[in-house]
Every structure is written in C-alpha cells, then in structure tokens.
C-alpha cells in the first residue's frame, strides 16, 4: 500500500513537472547605460498637435533617473527543454497619442496580435517585414481594432506609421524562444523558468545595438546586471 502511494506520488511529480525541469530558476537584473545620458532635444510635432501634443520625447532611448534603459530586449539563447512558447496569449499593440505601445513587442512565432487605435485620427500601421507577411493597413478612428495575420517566421521587424513618420515607430520581435523579454521603464527584467545551465544572453537595444553576456542558472535564481555601451562605428 505504502509502496503504491510512493509510486503514485512519483508518477504525479513526473506528470506535473515532466514537461518542465523540476529545478528551474529565474534570471533577473537591470540594463543600464554605461555612459552619461546623451542630451536629447524633444521632437517638435508638426501635425495633429491636438492629438499628438506639441513636443515629444523620442522613444529611441528612454532612460530612468538612474540610467536604466527601457525597451531593451533580453533573450537567453540555446535553452533546451524548459517552458513552451505561448502562442495563444492575447497580445495588444496600441496606438495612443501618436505613439505605439509597447515600443518593443515580443511576438511568439505562430501568434497573431490585436492592433488597437485609441486616437480619434487615422494611423497606418506599416510593418517592414521581409519574411513574414507585411502589413500596411489604414486604421481610422472608426476601425478601433483588427487582428493581424499570424507571424510565422522568426524576424526582427521595423514598424511605423507613415502618416506620423518620425513620431511613431516600434519594433516587433517574432521569436521561437520563450526566454525573450523586454526591459521595463526602469531597465529591469525578469525571465522565469530557466532550466539550470550556462547560457549566452543577448541584449539588443535600438540605439545601442547588440551585446552578449553569460549567465549561469544553478539551483536558485540568477542575477544579471548589464551596462550597455554604444558601439563604435566602423
């Protein structure tokens, strides 16, 4: 009787955790700018000021008070096993006050997204896809929401509104890795359920380019704080 109970428990453990590693940790940390913040002149808005405002901070580089970098993309490479890609998650990409939100959007390969216009004016969402089906749809105020085609290929895609060129741009990252996240407004990120191991971590930022770090996930949680440096041009 006791023996069979143990067997059932062991079986249950295998069933529950079988798909994911039993001892998974998280990788968290902060992405910061490695040099003093550059001075950035605000963008002067020359059209639709009643919706877009008169001046805007560029969303190319958004820094917190202590130089934390928002909108950096962090991806742990070469993870085998671990959690599954969630393609059913509802993802919204919003146009509001002539700004795309979020500025960097991670899209699991195979997923579709809802594109929302909260402004009383027309925007056009134009994706510069080379592998995925490109999108360029006008979205007047009367078309509050539509669903994109499925993103079927891993690709980094530039997004812009041509009508509000220079004000409205964004990036889509179609990924087949469930270990890809974007840093928050203070530069912080947290990647959960990482199986133990030593991995390369790629950090990408629109204005700063790519940088690669290493992280080791053992029994507990790992911390990864990164200083991003602008890349010298060749």
């Amino acid at each position: 009787m006791k023996k069979s109970l143990v067997l059932v428990v062991v079986w249950a453990i295998i069933v529950v955790f079988g798909a994911s590693p039993v001892f998974a940790g998280s990788v968290s940390g902060t992405i910061k700018l490695g040099i003093a913040a550059p001075s950035m002149a605000p963008i002067k808005v020359d059209k639709d000021q009643e919706v877009c405002g008169k001046e805007r901070v560029s969303d190319k580089l958004i820094l917190s008070g202590d130089n934390g970098i928002a909108n950096a993309m962090i991806t742990i490479k070469g993870v085998t096993g671990g959690k599954k890609l969630d393609t059913a998650k509802k993802i919204e990409f919003v146009q509001e006050k002539c700004q795309f939100k979020p500025h960097v959007l991670v899209i699991p390969k195979g997923a579709e997204i809802d594109i929302v216009n909260n402004d009383p004016i027309t925007h056009n969402i134009h994706t510069f896809a080379r592998k995925n089906q490109s999108i360029n749809k006008a979205q007047p105020a009367s078309l509050k929401r539509f669903t994109s085609p499925k993103f079927t290929e891993v690709e980094q895609i530039k997004v812009q509104c041509d009508i509000h060129r220079g004000l409205m741009s964004a990036w889509f990252f179609v990924t087949d890795s469930p270990y890809t996240v974007v840093s928050d407004a203070s530069g912080k990120f947290n990647i959960t359920d990482v199986p133990p191991g030593t991995y390369e971590v790629e950090i990408w930022h629109e204005a700063l380019g790519k940088q690669t770090e290493k992280v080791t996930v053992a029994a507990g949680d790992a911390t990864l704080n990164v200083s991003l440096m602008p890349q010298a041009k060749k």
Binding site: K137, I163, R165, G166
Partner: protein, 529 residues
C-alpha cells in the same frame, strides 16, 4: 430538364472564355527560358540578381522593382500578400505608365512574358513559400458614378483622412506627403489624384477600387479594406476618379490665343479666367520631361504636366499657366527630412571621427519657378533656336516667374543666360500657390522697343513657345528642371465680316447654277423626244 439545358448552354458559352484565361498558378512559364529573356531585356534596370540595382536604375524615380524583397505594388491580392502570376503578367505586358517600365506586349510573345514572370518569381523565396492559393480581392456590383456617389466618396475621403497624404484637393500635397519613403528608404510622393493618366495601375474607377482595397505593398499607401465595403469602395473610387478630367487631355501643338475686348487681369482667380469669362476657354495641355539633354542632367523631375491658355487684346498678350507641385518652395526654406520630425543618430559620433569627406545633402530648398520661352527674334523659315534655352546662333527670350519675382532674360544655351536690366522688365504677372497647384498669369505688350531681345507678337502669325518649370523641393536649380518641346501660340485673327457674307452668296450662286443646268437638261431631253 431546364436546369440541365441551361447548364449545358452555360458551359458552351463559358468554355471559350475559360479557354482564353491562362491558369494563374505557376507552371505556365518556363524559368530557364525566362532567364534568357530577363538577361537580355530586364537586367539593365532590374539587375542581375533582381535587386532593382541594374546600371540604369539610378536614373529612375521610382526605382526599378527590387524583386528580392517580394513586395509588389499592383496586385489583385489582399494587403501584404504576393501577386498572382496574372498580376505580374499584366505589369510586364502593359508596363507602368509614367515610369521607366515599358509595355512588353508588342516585343515579347505571350509565352515569353509568362516565362519572364516565372523567372522573376525565383528572386524572392516568398514565392516558393506561397503554397496556398492566393485569395483575390473581388470587385462587387458596380455603383456607377453620380453626383450622389461622388459626394459620399468625398465624405469618405475626409473621414478616412486620405488628405493627410493626397491633399485636400487630391494633388498629392498633404501634410505628410514630403516625409514619405518606400520600404527601401527611397523618397516617394503620394499620387496626384487629379491627373489620372499617371496612375500606374490604371486610372479608372475599377482600378482605384482595387488600389484602395489592396494598398501598394512596399510603399506608405495602406489598404483601407477594413473600413470599406463594396458600396463605399465604389463611392470613394468614383470620387477619386472625378478629380481628374473625364478624358485625358489631347495635346494640341497650337495655343490659340483668343482675342478679348477688355483688359487682361493678372489675378488668376479673376472671373475673367473662369468658365464663362472671356478667358474661360479650355487650357492646352503639354507634357514636361526632365532636362537630360545637357549636363547636368535631371532624370527625376516633379513637374510632368503644364496647362496653358492665352488671350490678347489690341495692346497685350497674356498667358494663364498652371502646374502641380506638392510643395511651395522659396530659396532657403528648410527641406523636410525623409523620415519626418527626427531620425537622429543618438550616438553617431561615439568612437568615430567626423567624416568630412561626405558631401552634405542640401538642407534648404531653392525657388519654385516657371519660364516661358520664345525665340528672341522671329527666325527665318523653319529654323528655331535649340529648344533647351537656345543656341550660339539663335537666342531665346525668357519670361521668368521665380517664387513671385518677375524677370526677363535672353539665353544662348543652357548656361548662357543674360538677365535683362530689372528696371526695363516689361512683363507683368501675378498668382501663386494653392492646394498643390500653381496658377500664374504673365502678360506683356504685343510689341516692345527692344526688337533684338524681345519677342514681338503679331496677329495672325505663329510664334514658337516652350516652357520650363522648377520644383525647389526637388533640388531643381541651374540645369535641373522640367522642360517642354517647342509649340506654337497663334494670335487668332478676328473673323472678317466677309466670312458671314460670302458663304450664303456662294450657296445661292451654286443653287442658281444647278437650277439652270437642270432646266436646260430637261429642255434638251424634251427636244430629243
């Protein structure tokens, strides 16, 4: 039984139609045969690898299609999707009017064109990945154009904010127009919707219907299909169609200057120039091309059409000249950067020496301008000065309107222009820019004192006339401009009174003669009996 019979007749009737249509899927073209034709005919513009980078490509705006991107503008498939074989076949066959893409239907056989299409499809892997059949945008029951439909379309044009790029009156001059680029980053202008003979994909309502539903892949023109049903598509298409003339203007090489009794007003908005006014006749239309005859050549001009009408009275001759330009420009105006408000490189100077060898692109505009060109002296016989600003032997007389300033000059070649003294300038004129269009009146006395440098106008005589235009937002200064060929202006003599007297007299004389003839014939017939 009736159903079977009608089905039978339907099949008989439908068969020839089906037989005509080539299958739209692959297989009808041969890739290897297509490559041979491509390497001979297409490579010069579209490049060896199909990247739109052939040796001639830099002379074109728009640039030749880069097939490797797998983005095609003129399709019948929904936004972002690949074109059908027939879509590509149509473009190869009929060309794209107003671009460097010629029609190949009278050069290549149908099979050749299908083969080329098959080869073009090898440049982008998107075609190979397209395994499912492509959906095609269906055009529903037509709503014929009517004032009601056009009005509904006008409301949609406002509501959907088409004017943001195409302008309030459709002349491609909207607030976002000058910041646009295509997916390769090359500047692109929204179509001027008032000149439908330049629409690449066809200028009729059904073509416009297709474009607003499919969008133009690889360009800022989006698909509006989620906001349009069949009815709305027709209304908007009918409205856009109504912005252009019902028929493409025919080119008449002679501008008939019309005799008027009163003064010639210099304000183009004066009722005199409007329909019903003394100078309200239809304008002549002339095509304009880039100046590619003399160095430095200009292959990508803005102004492609000019509209001209002329009147004269006993003292003066006047011209109303209009042309389209997406922007009003004066010397020193800041140029919008393609990319809009800001595309700065935040860390551009980090770890990098300033590269001073790079030629800085101009950041300011030059003046928009128009010149009307005449031979300085009426040439003997058929010899005319060279049509691009004259030649060593024969000079031309130019009336210049340059961002509001008037001047007269003479020229013996493209870089040999001599300005006349400003205090002696005799031309008068006014007008300006409104909603993507310039309208300028220029006038002068028929005769002037300077018989060597100034053209003299005589009633009943043909005078050669040509036009040159500049768009200051398009780097058009010096030799860079749009030019026309020589045409004529004829000061139409007043109809002499005799015209109204002689024809009836001749008619009566002929009638009388015939009556006499008839009477005599009858008489001689009678006498033979």
């Amino acid at each position: 039984m009736r159903t079977i019979l009608s089905l039978f007749f339907f099949l008989i009737l439908a068969l020839p139609a089906f037989a005509d249509e080539k299958p739209a899927s692959g297989g009808s073209g041969n890739v290897e045969a297509g490559k041979v034709i491509y390497d001979k005919r297409c490579i010069f513009c579209h490049g060896k690898e199909g990247a739109g980078d052939g040796p001639a490509s830099e002379r074109f705006s728009p640039k030749p299609r880069d097939f490797t991107m797998g983005l095609f503008k003129y399709r019948t498939t929904p936004n972002g999707m690949m074109p059908t074989d027939d879509d590509l076949f149509k473009v190869v066959s009929h060309g794209l009017p107003g671009t460097g893409m010629p029609a190949w239907d009278d050069v290549l056989s149908e099979q050749d064109r299908r083969d080329v299409v098959a080869y073009i499809k090898t440049f982008s892997e998107r075609f190979a990945k397209q395994t499912e059949p492509l959906p095609v945008v269906a055009i529903g029951a037509e709503i014929p154009s009517s004032p009601e439909s056009i009005e509904k379309g006008r409301e949609l044009f406002q509501k959907l904010e088409c004017f943001k790029c195409h302008g309030n009156e459709g002349r491609g001059n909207g607030p976002s127009a000058l910041t646009l680029t295509d997916d390769k980053g090359d500047p692109i202008l929204p179509r001027n919707l008032t000149l439908n003979w330049h629409f690449r994909g066809g200028g009729e309502a059904k073509d416009i219907y297709m474009r607003i539903n499919t969008g133009l892949n690889g360009t800022p023109m989006p698909s509006f299909t989620d906001s349009l049903d069949n009815e709305k598509s027709w209304h908007l298409a009918n409205y856009v169609r109504s912005l252009s003339p019902a028929t493409r203007p025919a080119m008449d090489v002679v501008i008939k200057s019309k005799k008027v009794t009163g003064a010639i007003p210099t304000d183009p908005a004066d009722p005199f120039w409007q329909a019903g006014g003394e100078g309200g006749q239809d304008a002549n239309w002339f095509p304009m091309v880039g100046q590619v005859v003399r160095h430095e050549r200009h292959f990508t001009p803005t102004v492609r059409d000019i509209f001209v009408k002329s009147v004269f009275n006993q003292d003066e001759i006047g011209f109303l000249i209009s042309w389209n330009d997406p922007s009003e420009s004066k010397e020193g105006d800041p140029l919008p950067t393609p990319g809009g408000a800001v595309e700065e490189d935040l860390f551009g100077s980090f770890g990098q020496e300033e590269d001073s060898s790079k030629a800085a692109a101009p950041t300011t505009a030059s003046d928009d301008a128009i010149s009307v060109q005449f031979p300085s002296v009426k040439p003997e016989g058929f010899k005319k000065p060279f049509f691009v600003r004259g030649d060593d032997k024969l000079s031309v007389n130019l009336w210049n309107w340059t961002a509001g300033k008037l001047s007269e000059s003479n020229s013996n070649g493209i870089d040999k222009e001599t300005m006349q003294a400003q205090e002696g300038v005799a031309i008068q004129g006014a007008g300006g820019y409104k909603e993507g269009q310039y309208q300028i009146v220029l006038k002068r006395s028929l005769l002037s004192d300077d018989k060597v440098n100034d053209t003299q106008f005589e009633v009943g005589k043909f005078t050669s006339i040509a036009f040159q235009a500049r768009d200051g937002h398009n780097g058009e200064t010096g030799t860079k401009m749009s030019i026309s060929h020589w045409y004529f202006v004829l000061l139409e003599p007043e109809t002499p009174k005799e015209v109204f007297i002689y024809p009836p007299l001749v008619f009566l004389a002929v009638l009388g003669f015939e009556l006499i003839l008839r009477w005599r014939l009858r008489k001689s017939n009678d006498s033979k009996k």
